[in-house]
Symmetry: C2
Subunit: 285 residues, 2 copies
């Protein structure tokens, strides 16, 4: 390829590992990822610098993305993600209809425990919220679905991580950038691993004010037919109500709920490991 400055040797080693190039598509995804990670709109020059692309090449891709509303331009001409992504993203969730299939169990759990209940899935090193139910009585917490939190400081994140196949778990953990959010946040690989061990034994995870002071959560995974943790449910509330004493009772109800959900999902067949190379998609320079 003439896009990338390529060290002449060991070329064919890569060749077979990644048989389908379609470089423009890969690049587009990398561009979107990049824009997603940036908190501010970026100029063409900045994008080129970050991605190591030539002006013309990046420009061409960006123009097409703009035409298709995948990205938009600020009045100053800088680029940022476009709203079509929002629309597509929400369609994606609708189509999976995890949300809808889970709702009934979900609502019942919220009633039983009287706390906010969340549904989320794993996306790279983040937990993306799909849905939440608040107990009827009063508003307890606010959190918008569609937002995401790091895996390592959420009960749902830890619940899913713990039950992931070894290799995949390693891959994810290696990508985590730990940041201290509260004094109780697990900020090292070791602390996280130790926590995951306990999660695996108990079947549920706890977030003990690790992401926000005063908030405790209990989370458990939902499994698909291959015992793959495709999603997680959590119960969260003020530390004053979710106490050492009340956790076991909550966890029991939570796990029962998750098992019911898992069972209703587990009606599929075998076929392919689907999670073959799901994570971080690396853009070669």
């Amino acid at each position: 390829m003439h896009t990338v400055v390529m060290p002449p040797p060991e070329m064919e080693a890569v060749k077979h590992a990644d048989p389908y190039q379609l470089q423009s598509i890969d690049r587009v995804v990398a561009l979107l990822d990049m824009l997603s990670e940036s908190d501010i709109p970026l100029s063409l020059a900045e994008i080129c610098a970050r991605m190591g692309l030539h002006k013309s090449t990046a420009h061409r891709s960006l123009i097409v993305l703009e035409r298709t509303s995948m990205i938009e331009r600020t009045p100053e001409g800088k680029f940022r993600l476009g709203l079509k992504l929002y629309e597509l993203g929400n369609r994606a969730v609708e189509q999976m209809d995890l949300r809808d299939r889970v709702q009934p169990f979900f609502r019942r759990l919220a009633m039983e425990v009287g706390e906010t209940v969340h549904l989320s899935v794993l996306q790279r090193t983040k937990v993306v919220y799909l849905d939440k139910v608040e107990p009827n009585r009063r508003v307890c917490m606010t959190s918008k679905s569609g937002t995401s939190n790091p895996v390592y400081c959420t009960s749902m994140g830890k619940a899913m991580l713990a039950f992931l196949p070894e290799e995949l778990r390693e891959e994810i953990i290696s990508k985590i950038k730990f940041t201290r959010l509260t004094s109780k946040t697990l900020c090292t690989r070791e602390a996280l691993m130790k926590s995951l061990e306990r999660v695996k034994k108990r079947g549920f995870a706890i977030d003990d004010e690790e992401i926000e002071v005063g908030v405790r959560c209990v989370g458990a995974p939902i499994f698909d037919e291959n015992h793959f943790p495709i999603a997680a449910v959590s119960v969260s509330g003020p530390a004053s109500r979710i106490t050492v004493q009340s956790v076991p009772g909550i966890a029991e109800k939570l796990i029962r709920c998750c098992n019911e959900i898992s069972r209703t999902l587990g009606i599929h067949d075998k076929r392919r490991s689907r999670y073959s190379s799901p994570l971080f998609h690396h853009y070669g320079n």
Copy 2:
């Protein structure tokens, strides 16, 4: 190009209108759109049929999209939109931070009128919901943000349409596929145009049970620095509470709110029409 079976003549007419080809990217977007419109996951063969693509070509693109989590495969091997889109989409909205900047005004309005308040933007022929606030007292309506409704039967859609530049409005309206949702739905271009005239005069739009029986909404646009309606706000509630008598009062509060928001947004500069060719991106067979 050798992708598309091309009627030999009038080729160069298109050539200049659409200078940047990058066909693989265009195709990818078209694929995503297609998957978005389908309610069920599609097989490779189905995708080829709908898009008029050759097996190999479609397959290659799909594989890349799968690798990058833009789409996923069901256990049966069918394709559907992937969760990365959800993540990207939500980042897009965060980055625009319309939502956050609007929130305070927004909440106040909800308190004042005691009804559900929505924020949305225009995306092609649809209104995409970005946010909502429910009045504290009780749950009134349910609607998830991220969902979308057709422009022509929502107050927000009509509010934005009415204040769009002539040409763009025409472009959008020409793309609408009218479907009757209730007995009051505006189902013709003419009815819609007439309605828009009134919206323009009054400064706000009404959805009088046009999308759902028993629900009335009042909507008004938010303008950017160029008097371009970038978003809209609506007040919606049961027809029993939003009556002919109460509409003027609600509309007044709504418009005041929207004006305040518009003013806080109108701090930008001139530069480019940004909406040069924003809509329907057509995939040439």
